[in-house]
Amino acid sequence: MKKFILVSVMCVVATLQALACGPWVRPSYYVFSAFPRAQMGDMFYERTNQFWREYTDGAAEAWSQQSLAAVDLEEFDRSENAIIKAAITKRDREMTDYLRILISYLNECGVGSEDTWAYPTKQDLKQRDSKLQYIYNRARSYRGKRLSGQYCLLAMRALMLMGDSQGIIKYWKGMGSKQAESVYKDMMRDIYAGALLRTGKKREACDIFAELGDMLSIKWVMRDSRNLEGIKTEYEANPTSPTLVYLVQDYVNNAQSSLESISGADDDEVDEDIKRANQRLKDFIPFALEVVKQGKTDVPALWQSAAGYLTHLLGDSRQGIAMLDKALTMRGTQRMLDNARVCRLVASTATASANNKYLNYLAQELTWLQQVEQKEATDFKEYNFNDNHYLEVLQNLIYDNLSPRFATQGHTNLATGLAGWMAGHETSLSATCDDFYVSDDYYHMLDLLSAQETVDYLNYLEGAAGNELEKMIFSSAIEIDRQYRNDRIGTKWIREGQFEKAIPYLEEVSLQYIGTQAISAYMERNYRVERWFKRQRVFTGELWEWDESPKPVNENQKLQFCHDIIKTTRDYEHASGKERGELAYQLATMLYQASYKGECWYLSRYGQSINDTICYKNEKDFLAEAVHYLDEALRYADNDFDLTQKALYAKAFIPFGQPYVTYTYDEDWNAIPHYNRNSYEYQTLLTLNNFYQAHRNQVATYVSRCDVLRRFRENNL
């Protein structure tokens, strides 16, 4: 079972993804994992499936086993079920006999328990009881060896349906416990534990659940013991109780969840009671170390690593690492030792710096993590890579921990390269797993780099490795397509206002490549059209009829834009008087259209949303530039009425700075306006209004009929 720590984060992920510059927020997964998470689900299902897969030479699917319950015994010989077909084809009489009796049992399971309109009559129940008794007797009378486990399980299941807990306990002791080890024996033992639970032997039952790995049952049964007092009580009763594995892991995971939920919050924002509760988490540490010291536990590595990881979580990572190093030398299952190693690796990042010694250690541990990740995927096939503990550790470690940490320390290339290595790893996994998707973190990071940083990063990938981690990165980082990189770098230079630098990159981008991009659908727009006068609709249909599929293009509009704006800027710089004013107005038009608010936003980015802001590194504020050129247009308008009118109107149109009116609401939800007379919007509307008042009979209709201006006047501002 996948457990998310910051569950509430999930609620905002979808919103954040809609922002062009918004970060992808990944849930923080539990790190401490002393038993496979498959044990929080149905841990017998895959094993029985495996049995049937082998029996049918791979023909049985997971649903073949489930669908046995729906088989009509009268149609048995004609059944299309892969398991039945295999038994019949093999002329396996022993198996067909078993399957028939198994199906009889599965048919009976539904009687009286299903919510159907035909409520069973007394006669129905009597028949069911006699059928169950028959199944029980048949199961008991099996004298073979090959299917002995299956028949014993069937007998116990029949007793279970008859509600005979004492019978189950007796049968397990007399027959079930003497069977050879198999999934069927484990299933019998699980039924036996359930019978113990129903007869009041909770602790005994839980220990069996734990030994079988049925942690989900323990979670429910021990729901009132999920705290330090509960752990102490269980330990006092039995220091080697397998239930403690669940309780200890649960304690550490809950601690991680609680501590992370307040990390980053200001101290005075956190309730004192919550702070105290988090402080009390540390009480576990001396107790766990005492358990190790007493030597009564058979898994000291579990307790030591729990204490070590909790120490790290509570802020003392150096001490935590030392304790985890010690845990690695102690007794425990392989899973527990692997867990201690994972915890040690995660704890090490708290003090990580990009020196070669640490980077070599990282390379070694990341390689090992990939190996255990692969092993878990092999051991628990039904989970594949979408619910793989070690893969989630890797994702959190790289994308959410090491990459941001190295970036903050100024190692941008290393940070990006590490994410690229992870993306490469995920890409290789996605090739083997249909429903696994590569995270977009790496591409998001690439998008956020400035143009020069991107150039530097690409050069870095082709340089010489200085340590083992860089060797890994350089050999495995995901390949970046040449067209893709040139288009990206060119676009970054555009949004940074470095149009000359963009040209050589954009010249390398083919029209065919541009035609494959989603933004090509918008490229029929003209960046020289004044947005304040005309709206260039690309999609004429309703919202749900929009076709945003890529479209072929006839020109590289980004390249054309660069040439155009360079030339216009040059002409403007050499012009004077009204011509200079006219060229300034053209520049304002082009820059506005290329801004995040403009209709040709695709010139400077790859997506747009109403929440966009100036968010990229070194991004030039094209809106401010447009306003500047409009001021220049007014300055050089030289009493040209038309140019003055256009420039004033354009200035009032551009959404820049604070709005001139905001609203609050009273308790009856009546809007109360608040006017900001210092805002850009107020000032530009005021100027336009003064112009209108002065030239009421001359102004164009776009001024005289402007509804925004009319409202502004109506507000008597």
Binding site: D115, L216, R223
Partner: protein, 341 residues
Amino acid sequence: MRLWKYSLLFVVLIASCTRSKQDLEHSTNSVYYWRTTLRLDSAERQFLRDYKVGRIYMRYFDVVMRDGTARPNATLRFLDTVPSSAEVVPVVFVTENCMRTDNEPQTLAERIVQRVVQMNETNNLPAPRELQIDCDWTVRSQECYFAFLRQVRKLLRERDMRLSITIRLHQLAMNVPPADYGVLMVYNTGDATRKTGRNPILDKRDVQPHLRHLASYDLPLCAAYPIFGWQLLYRGDEFKAILHEENLADSSLYRPVDDHRYLVVANRDLPEPSDDRAHFTWVLAGDSVIVQQPTEEMILTVRQALQARRGNINNQVIIYSLDKKHLRLYNNNFYEKVYSR
């Protein structure tokens, strides 16, 4: 002549008053039993004995829409016997959307009656003498619901059984459903999903506006009062869940803020009591848990207010619901008062 007219008017008035205040013929102390398995523990049996409970209104199953069809759901499993001194009244909760579709009300009525009768027979209970239908019907579903009730009543009469229904407070202002009598549900009067400062289970301020319809409601009535509590989980002002018997004394997870409010001080996933054990509810540090339980005083005050408007309504009182964890919330003296006639 004038005197004769006035006398006639007086007789009519008396008759109409009497009609609206009809008593239940065999009124008795009663309880609701609203679980999915029938298993009475010693405290519950003792309660039935101590308060001479003569009638147990027992939820047999729900009827819900599944795959476009009305189907039974959460059928009661009979794992225990019922004291022979108490009559069992089967109750079927029908979700309102079952009354909003093209379901044939006649067919549904037949299925329900047949199933209830069969359940008694299979589980060695005497043939039922009554069936109660519980449905939060609305104006939109009224027509279908009333047609359904008429059919149920017809079928029951053939078996010499009577039909009772639940009446929610707001339904007092609506048309009267065709039934032999109604049980006024004097609980769940507020909205648990909103932090209003009022007790969502019972608050007299929420009951008060409905009382004006009580005296004239043209159906014999008795009343059901709540004896249960809720642990309501809120994140900020947002309602998240009803917790299932959480141990609020666990100081590693909860800190009491006042008599009925707790602060969640850590994060934890709490398993839910469902067939799918993988279901859980998250409680997060900073959440609050508000324990809502109507006070004895509130229940008795509302009881009195109802009686003032409709003198016989407490001739039969039903307690919702028989459950040892609820029973211990109130003291013996209270039960005597609430059952007093």
